[in-house]
């Protein structure tokens, strides 16, 4: 009988004592055939990455190890083979690409040398032959100027190029299985679309089985043949992509898919005409002199924001969408005066605020507040939650007892237990921390709220909750909101109007529905075309 390419049977991976559960992975059964793509989907902590690592024999032993079950690879049990055989399998028969190519590549070795290593350790070839092979590989993954890339160091390439180089390296020896652990999560959507296309192209060329780990159902819809959904270490549902995405059986799968924001923009709400915030011709450039007293070599100048003009009307939500490096976060930081603008005018309620001194700015701070991206970096780990929230009012001269009362009220508004007041941030999960961050931004009763990628660090189900919460408080407190995101699905659900940014410029603005229906600018069209799973309609 012919053996299956990959056959994971009844796999248990044990976690060290003191972890939140005994097994990272329990009773996992997965199969992968030649030329097939199996997507393992799940939220953070579901055990999907550890499963992939177990296949490579890369578990962080001795703390975490396989205690039961087998991982069959062409009839051979990977959990039982000796170390030399495992080394042989790794790289030449099973290879892996990682989420962050910058950390997966060695920063002090050129790309050419790193690809060369793969050949040197696994096959007997002359140096010139190896170099020729490497150049061919780089050409296969559509990197421009392969000869030049061979000599380049990882930091000289863009994120997408690095991931291409990683793929070239992973596929160097034509492995039978490619394991991809969230390979596009750190990339922009347009780059992601290209990388996904590349992976399926390469797969088709050499009939590779791909085990693809992801949290994004859009990506699943685009590339998977079969899907396995993991929750808390268990595979709760598996089947073909049509079955799982369109007729999910398990309640967890249904909840996950239900939480994926739909690409159909929501109906625009009636828009008031009074602008509460206006940005006119704002620019911001980084760089300039460096070194001793500014006499050193001039640093590279980066024009992060170029001549941006925007209006935010009372009660509306303006989305600023764009890829990384488009200047959307810099713009937000200029508006809230975390950075000074080079030129241009920012006015709140008709009063220009970007030229005010720090002291004169202080009363205006209550008008405009911000919710940050990273729930783990945005709360001071040494201060209790109640005090974090009350800090704003106290700084603005409201007395402590009143500020505390307001903090308690906000804690209940954002849906946290009232005992949270006396706890430290590390006792909370990412979603709860984001709620604390929202409570803090509301403590000053602002009129304008800037949300900088507030949900991009969160799992999809938590993301839906936080978006609902933002919606609720926006209506309750009559906020006008600037919502910064790279995710067009999220933008479609939240924003009344959109501004699309690229290279520091706003290339297009308009009502969300109009932009989705007929994008004017070619870049907007590219962005929309690159959204993963755009042909898959969420039925909800």
């Amino acid at each position: 009988m012919k053996h299956k390419l990959l056959d994971i049977k009844n796999l248990f991976i044990q976690l060290p004592a003191g972890a939140d559960r005994q097994y990272a992975v329990q009773e996992v059964n997965l199969e992968l055939a030649r030329g097939e793509t199996l997507c393992v989907v799940g939220e953070s902590g579901s055990g999907k990455s550890l499963t992939a690592r177990a296949v490579m024999g890369l578990l962080p032993a001795p703390h975490v190890q396989v205690t039961q079950g087998e991982i069959g690879f062409n009839g051979e049990d990977i959990t039982k083979v000796n170390y030399d055989r495992l080394r042989q399998i790794r790289g030449s028969e099973i290879s892996m690409i990682f989420q962050e190519p910058m950390t997966a590549l060695n920063p002090v070795m050129s790309i050419g040398a790193q690809i060369d290593e793969v050949f040197r350790y696994h096959v007997n070839m002359s140096g010139a032959e190896r170099a020729k092979q490497a150049i061919k590989l780089l050409d296969d993954v559509h990197l421009p100027n392969p000869e030049q890339i061979m000599r380049a160091y990882p930091h000289e390439l863009s994120g997408g190029q690095r991931q291409r180089a990683m793929i070239a390296m992973a596929l160097a020896l034509k492995p039978k299985i490619l394991i991809a652990d969230e390979p596009t999560t750190a990339l922009d959507v347009t780059t992601q679309a290209q990388i996904l296309k590349l992976i399926s192209e390469m797969q088709l060329a050499s009939d590779t089985g791909v085990l693809f780990i992801t949290h994004d159902f859009g990506v699943v819809a685009d590339i998977a043949h079969r899907v396995a959904v993991m929750q808390q270490g268990l595979v709760v549902e598996s089947g073909t992509v049509e079955q799982v995405l369109n007729n999910p059986v398990h309640p967890y799968t249904q909840a996950l898919i239900g939480a994926v924001p739909s690409l159909n923009p929501r109906k625009a709400r009636p828009r008031s005409k009074t602008p509460v915030l206006s940005v006119q011709g704002v620019s911001k450039t980084f760089g300039g002199g460096s070194g001793l007293f500014g006499f050193g070599v001039a640093a590279r100048e980066v024009k992060a924001v170029k001549n941006v003009t925007l209006d935010l009307c009372r009660g509306e939500t303006l989305g600023i969408v764009g890829e990384s490096g488009s200047g959307k976060s810099t713009l937000a930081r200029c508006i809230i005066r975390l950075m000074d603008t080079d030129c241009g005018k920012i006015s709140i309620d008709g009063v220009q605020v970007n030229e005010l001194s720090r002291a004169a700015m202080r009363p205006w701070r209550t008008k405009i507040q911000m919710v940050f991206q990273d729930p783990f970096a945005s709360l001071n780990p040494r201060i209790k939650v109640g005090n974090i929230i009350a800090q704003g009012p106290v700084t603005q001269g409201i007395d402590k007892a009143e500020a505390d009362a307001r903090a308690r009220e906000l804690i209940s508004i954002v849906g946290l237990d009232e005992r949270s007041f006396n706890r430290y941030p590390h006792e909370f999960s990412g979603g709860q921390r984001q709620r604390i961050g929202i409570a803090r931004s509301l403590a000053l009763k602002p009129e304008i709220l800037i949300a900088d990628e507030p949900v991009s660090a969160l799992d999809v189900s938590i993301q839906a909750q936080i978006l609902d919460l933002l919606e609720e408080i926006r209506d309750r407190m009559h906020l006008s909101m600037i919502f910064i995101t790279h995710d067009l699905r999220v933008a479609a659900q939240v924003c009344d109007r959109l501004a699309v940014m690229r290279y520091g410029e706003v290339v297009e603005t308009g009502a969300t529905a109009d932009i989705f229906a007929k994008p004017e600018h070619s870049y907007t069209r590219d962005l929309l075309a690159a959204v993963p799973g755009k042909d898959w309609k969420v039925s909800s």
Partner: protein, 277 residues
């Protein structure tokens, strides 16, 4: 606190170091009870071997009791180590915090000043300072402080550089918090762990510098210290080994103990190691 102790106690040698250190502190505290007399007093026959003539650890060329000197010297060493370290950490935090937080010109000026102090070999600099100021316990503390603060300033500056751009600090800016409050209440508590670790190791260095100065005759002439004892006995090293050896062992053991404690604190306070295990 219990959690902290259990992490600290995982490192056995750190616990041993702490034990020795407590013993040394205890010895310094009860020095006047076991040896009520002035350690400079000529207590009996010069150059008695350990155990003879009622001298537990022998006596030196002038008949001073070596054991009494070690007990009283412990007080001096620990006092100088602690005071100089606190002063150095204080100055270092001020320099490091301002230069890291404000950056730009402030950083340039403060760091160039720091570098001036760092470029002079520290022990030579300390000798020079004590020689200029006349040897006394104050001048020794000042000299040790002056040569040790730049390291703390560099460390604190690095911590501030990485913390000042964290989102929680930006959130403080958006509510209009003053710089002073952000520095003292928000950022500083987050860099206490490395400061404590470096500080604990600095105590050991301070004790060594003090001993070195006293050995060269630059100690306070009215205060007994381990370095002074070694300096007084160095001419007799071959005929009366005990005069130098026991104070030397005292320095070795104490400095080792403090280093072990510092290492243990580092393991216990370092969040990366915490996750690893």
């Amino acid at each position: 606190m219990n959690e902290f102790w259990s992490r600290y106690a995982r490192n056995r040698s750190a616990v041993m170091g702490l034990g020795i250190l407590v013993l040394v502190i205890f010895m310094a505290a009860i020095a006047s009870l076991i040896f009520p007399d002035d350690p400079f007093r000529l207590a009996g026959i010069p150059l008695s071997v350990p155990g003879a003539n009622g001298f537990f650890l022998g006596s030196d060329t002038l008949g001073r009791d070596v054991a009494s000197g070690i007990a009283h010297g412990a007080k001096t060493s620990l006092l100088i180590g602690l005071v100089a370290t606190f002063a150095a950490v204080f100055i270092g935090i001020i320099f490091g915090a301002f230069s890291g937080y404000y950056g730009g010109l402030v950083d340039d000026i403060l760091m160039r000043i720091t570098e001036i102090f760092q470029t002079i070999p520290s022990f030579v600099f300390a000798i020079l300072l004590v020689a200029i100021m006349k040897p006394s316990i104050e001048s020794i503390v000042i000299a040790i402080t002056v040569v040790s603060w730049p390291g703390v300033a560099r460390l604190v500056r690095g911590e501030f550089l990485s913390l000042k751009n964290r989102e929680f600090v930006q959130a403080c800016h958006t509510i209009g918090m003053s710089d002073m409050r952000i520095i003292v209440r928000e950022i500083l508590p987050n860099c206490l762990s490395p400061i404590i670790v470096v500080g604990s190791l600095m105590v050991a260095t301070a004790i060594l510098i003090e001993s070195g100065l006293a050995f060269l005759g630059l100690g306070d002439p009215n205060i007994m210290s381990w370095g002074f004892q070694i300096g007084a006995g160095r001419t007799m090293l071959r005929s009366a080994w005990w005069v130098c050896t026991f104070p030397g062992i005292a320095i070795l053991v104490t400095v080792l103990a403090i280093n072990l404690v510092g290492e243990g604190l580092n393991d216990a306070l370092n969040p990366r190691l915490r996750e690893g295990n």
